[in-house]
């Protein structure tokens, strides 16, 4: 998996995301003021740290893990036990601001413990061992009910704990800014880690372990250090999750959580530092907003993921970046119209496909399929042929034009260099 990243000396201009994203993070709560939106933003921050830690494995070291939630979840549990101890002591002890550090330490500890035998080989063996560990920890939550809190999980109270700066964390806005602060710290640390010799060796181990060994670095050791550090940041995210949600149950160590971080990171783009940030944000927003609009959101997620794996393995950020480079190099000259045409036809196709899926869900899932159903602002009867015909027609025409009219046209223009996907 080749990874074009910002290599060599860092251009100051390329640091613009470091200014824009934190500024946006500071301003967003003033635009979306509802309590729900602020909770969502906090979750986004936690998901971003988690996804960045995951990409230390997948993107930087080439290790595909199916059990990263183990470190996130165990970090969360340990932090929760500490928070409960603080609550029990009547709000005396560790300040809330430092609680994520407890999670980070726990993550690091479990990362070192499980890392010793997980990282001996990369590739499929590593993937399976992490899958096994994930399932092991999740199913042992039924064994150790004292630690995992059984079915109900564990509760804590963030407001009943001291604060370093005398902030009252009963307000979710205060919690949000705490999440932003930690996310910024974590992002800077993870970014700087990439620039250390360790970060470069991790890339070398990913691309060619034999040669890395030949220059005198043991790939197992490099993987182990990356793995432990990644687990540490995952634990940090888990500790923050305890503060935002004040409840943990066994789901946080489960396979769904591990799958979600993989999906988010990959959708964003594993070859870019900003990829996991974009991916985790998209997944969090979609998960929360889409699930209130449609029952089919898991299906959309799965389809989006498969499309990315098949046609755009560099993720959303990768697609935008290559198109941007192409545009800057003049690759869009004289064919911008065709490219726009491809995007528009593709969007029409996607629109048609969404209509088909929504119609199917209404037809198969609702008690009365013939009840009037509002699809994209039009009230239709799903038991008649017409809406089905129209939806399929839109999808087929859109994708058909894109694949069999637009794409050949573009390849004729650009000298028959075929590229995966459209824009």
């Amino acid at each position: 998996m080749a990874t074009p990243s910002v290599a060599g000396r860092t251009n100051l201009l390329k640091l613009w995301p470091w200014v824009v994203i934190p500024l946006a993070a500071l301003v967003l709560p003033f635009i979306f003021t509802s309590g729900h939106a602020i909770n969502l933003l906090s979750h986004m921050g936690v998901a971003i740290i988690f996804a960045l830690s995951y990409n230390m494995l997948l993107g930087n070291t080439g290790l595909l893990s199916f059990g990263h939630a183990v470190y996130y979840g165990l970090g969360a549990y340990v932090a929760m036990h500490v928070l409960r101890a603080i609550n029990d002591a009547g709000g005396q002890g560790l300040p809330v601001e430092l609680l994520p550090l407890v999670g980070a330490l726990a993550g690091l500890g479990f990362g070192i413990l499980f890392g010793t035998f997980s990282v001996r080989r990369a590739g499929v063996v590593f993937a399976m061992i992490t899958l096994g560990l994930g399932a092991l920890v999740f199913s042992s939550s039924q064994m150790f009910t004292d630690f995992f809190g059984g079915e109900a999980g564990l509760f804590g109270n963030r407001a009943e704990a001291p604060s370093l700066f005398g902030i009252d964390y009963a307000s979710s806005l205060a919690v949000y800014y705490l999440v932003v602060a930690w996310a910024l710290i974590a992002a800077i640390l993870i970014y700087l880690l990439r620039k250390t010799p360790l970060g470069w060796m991790a890339n070398a181990v990913r691309d060619n372990p034999e040669r890395a060994q030949f220059v005198g670095y043991d790939p197992t050791i490099v993987r182990f250090i990356q793995f432990s550090l990644s687990a540490c940041f995952a634990g940090l995210a888990g500790g923050l999750y305890v503060i935002t949600d004040e409840i943990v149950n066994a789901e946080v160590v489960g396979q769904i959580q591990s799958g979600a971080v993989l999906l988010g990171t990959y959708i964003g783009g594993i070859g870019y530092f900003i990829g996991p940030i974009v991916g985790a944000s998209i997944v969090t927003v979609l998960e929360s907003s889409l699930s209130s609009y449609t029952e089919a959101w898991v299906l959309y997620f799965g389809l989006l993921f498969i499309t990315i794996v098949m046609f755009a393995p560099m993720g959303i950020v990768g697609v935008i970046h290559t198109q941007y480079l192409n545009w800057k190099a003049g690759g869009w000259k004289g064919n911008t119209g065709i490219r726009l045409y491809l995007i528009v036809t593709g969007l029409i196709g996607i629109f048609g496909a969404i209509c088909v899926i929504e119609l199917s869900y209404h037809y198969f899932r609702s008690w009365d399929p013939s009840a009037p159903f509002v699809l994209m602002g039009v009230t239709v009867d799903a038991t008649t042929v017409l809406p089905w015909l129209a939806c399929f027609a839109i999808a087929i025409i859109g994708f058909g034009l894109m694949l069999f009219h637009g794409r050949p046209m573009l390849s004729r223009h650009t000298g028959a260099t075929s590229r995966g996907g459209n824009a």
């Binding site: 998996m1 080439g62 595909l64 035998f117 080989r121 590739g123 499929v124 063996v125 993937a127 399976m128 061992i129 899958l131 096994g132 560990l133 399932a135 092991l136 199913s139 042992s140 039924q142 064994m143 150790f144 004292d146 396979q255 799958g259 993989l262 999906l263 990959y266 089919a296 898991v298 299906l299 997620f301 799965g302 389809l303 993921f305 498969i306 794996v309 098949m310 393995p313 199917s360 869900y361 198969f364 899932r365």
Partner: protein
């Protein structure tokens, strides 16, 4: 005690043979193509649902043959238009593709058949009692499961070791270029192996769907255990998969049927039921049972990565 042992062995073997039916296809696909098919349990689920729907029209016996064929055809399409495309990027994208596919299949099944279990039952001919043991009745269907599993094992072994097709398949794995040079279409061989593996999972689903529950969660439940069987048995080894299935089946049933804890056997010895070791001392075996397969998976990967009968490492 004898009753418990006999009961665990019989039910364990039954569970083990079901596991074997689910995982034999994956051991072929994984061992031969190196593709760790995350969606394998989803094909198992499709087998159950196809058999249920087809069975409504044609009856169980026709569906028993048609459903695996339908699942195999679907598997062939997946390989041809999905996996083959990502194959060029390497093994990790293949894994990711099947991972996404598992989500999509589960959602589609929930879409067409609903989220609640469907009433998929054994035909009346198989629903009668075959024999009784210690006051428990065993239906003809349970014997039927054993028969199907044995037939599957023998058929697979014969196909791979004694036929020309098996020879080509084995050749295409170790020396694809050579097999291609001899005039065989290697991508098509891979497609057929994948389809065949999926059909086997489908057959497992036709039978397993009756024994367990047929609902959209069944793939997610069985998925990880299927991996355990494949890894423990050894890559590409059908006998290994059988042995591993039986081990897991018997072990898990045994742990579930005896009620044993160290504290129960040796007395509490003043060890309180708290703290890590205290909890372990008082742990009942029934609570350990769900963890066992995964413990086996991790231990196998650490200490014997090639599994029981595998020739090369995972």
């Amino acid at each position: 005690m004898l009753e418990t042992i006999a009961y665990s062995i019989f039910n364990g073997v039954l569970y083990g043979t079901l596991l074997f039916m689910m995982s034999s296809g994956l051991t072929l696909i994984f061992g031969m193509m190196g593709v760790l098919n995350f969606a394998h349990a989803s094909f198992y689920m499709l087998g159950a649902y196809f058999a249920y729907t087809l069975g409504l029209g044609t009856g169980f016996w026709v569906a028993l043959f048609l459903a695996p064929i339908a699942v195999g055809a679907f598997g062939a399409l997946v390989e041809r238009y999905g996996l083959r495309r990502v194959h060029q990027f390497g093994h990790v994208p293949e894994l990711l593709f099947t991972f996404g596919l598992a989500y999509v299949i589960e959602e589609l099944v929930a879409l067409f058949w609903g989220t609640v279990p469907v009433p998929y039952k054994a035909p009346p001919a198989l629903d009668t009692t075959a024999f009784s043991m210690f006051g428990l009745n065993y239906s003809v269907f349970k014997v039927f499961i054993l028969v199907v599993a044995v037939a599957m094992f023998v058929g697979l072994w014969f196909l791979l070791k004694k036929t020309r097709a098996g020879l080509i398949i084995q050749g295409a794995l170790s020396r694809p270029d050579m097999v291609g040079a001899l005039g065989h279409n290697v991508p098509r061989v891979f497609m057929l192996v994948f389809a065949f593996g999926c059909a086997l999972a489908g057959l497992g689903g036709v039978v397993g769907g009756i024994h367990f529950v047929t609902d959209p969660g069944m793939a997610f439940m069985m998925g990880p255990i299927v991996f355990v069987v494949v890894v423990l048995g050894g890559l590409g080894s059908v006998p290994g998969a059988l042995i591993a299935s039986l081990i897991i089946g018997i072990l898990q049933t045994f742990f579930l049927s005896i009620n044993f804890s160290l504290a129960g056997a040796f007395g509490a010895l003043g060890i309180e039921d708290s703290g890590f070791f205290g909890v372990l001392w008082h742990m009942e075996t029934t609570r350990i049972a769900p963890v066992l397969p995964f413990l086996l998976l991790v231990l196998t990967l650490i200490f014997r990565p090639r599994g029981l009968l595998g020739k090369r490492e995972a």
